[in-house]
Symmetry: C2
Subunit: 156 residues, 2 copies
């Protein structure tokens, strides 16, 4: 899985506390990661409609919806692409013992099992929102999130 998913999720969590737009460069400085590369992933979030971008001075990124309405799956799909990890190439229809096409209306048993597992994975990620993550962070280290929000808004 792409490592940018982790960055995007952390950005989404800290954006929860920022009242005004935050530039990508500042988000990168907060996490000490490559600014240019982080920008790429933030663009993916923007294309998916999770964040809104404003240009010019005092511009940056901000969430478009309340954090309670953004699931972890939304962020992962935005960065990774929503395509399934396992793709069935229908090899049962190939070779000397190929199954007739009319018998292949339904996906094969292997594809069904893999799809079922992916659905379980998605269901789990859909059950956690960015707001939940922020609440857990605040439970573990109170005021840490607030300090980050203040740092993003104000001083260097």
């Amino acid at each position: 899985m792409s490592g940018g998913v982790e960055w995007a999720l952390h950005c989404a969590v800290v954006l929860t506390t920022a009242p005004s737009p935050v530039p990508a460069a500042r988000l990168a400085a907060l996490h000490d990661v490559s600014p240019s590369y982080l920008a790429k992933h933030l663009q993916a979030l923007s294309r998916a409609g999770l964040v809104r971008s404003t240009q010019g001075q005092a511009g940056g990124y901000e969430l478009t919806r309340p954090a309670e309405q953004i699931t972890v799956l939304d962020v992962v799909d935005a960065v990774e692409g929503s395509s399934a990890a396992f793709v069935c190439t229908e090899i049962r229809q190939r070779g000397p013992c190929a199954a007739p096409p009319e018998a292949c209306a339904a996906p094969c048993a292997i594809a069904r099992a893999m799809r079922s597992a992916e659905l379980a994975w998605e269901r789990e990620l859909r059950s956690v929102t960015v707001a939940d993550l922020a609440a857990q962070v605040d439970d573990g280290a109170p005021e840490a999130l607030a300090r980050m929000g203040a740092w993003l808004s104000g001083d260097a």
Copy 2:
């Protein structure tokens, strides 16, 4: 996800019906895939202890356990490697607002959410055995599996 997982699963299912060892070349011919590349994945299965390999004439691969004792997760882990897809790089400990190391004994909320999803995925794959897959194939197309087994053992 690696495409070889599909090949390995199909091979495991058809090996259910073969009483004697089957060479990799014949498995490749049955599915009309690259023999050399399929051999690579069968070696992975062998390293994981799912299949036994015998050399020389009349050699080939055969399952080491009853198909009821081989889960889909076993095959996927053997081919893909059992490492987690999401790896937390602990970026919370970096940057100007870094969390103190003593507060990071437990994994962060993001890593927990991703891990939980992966566990759900693994649980689903662990609940399906190769025997289940074979039974479903036989339900959908009766005798198709038997025909494949006969082709593997005997004629060209």
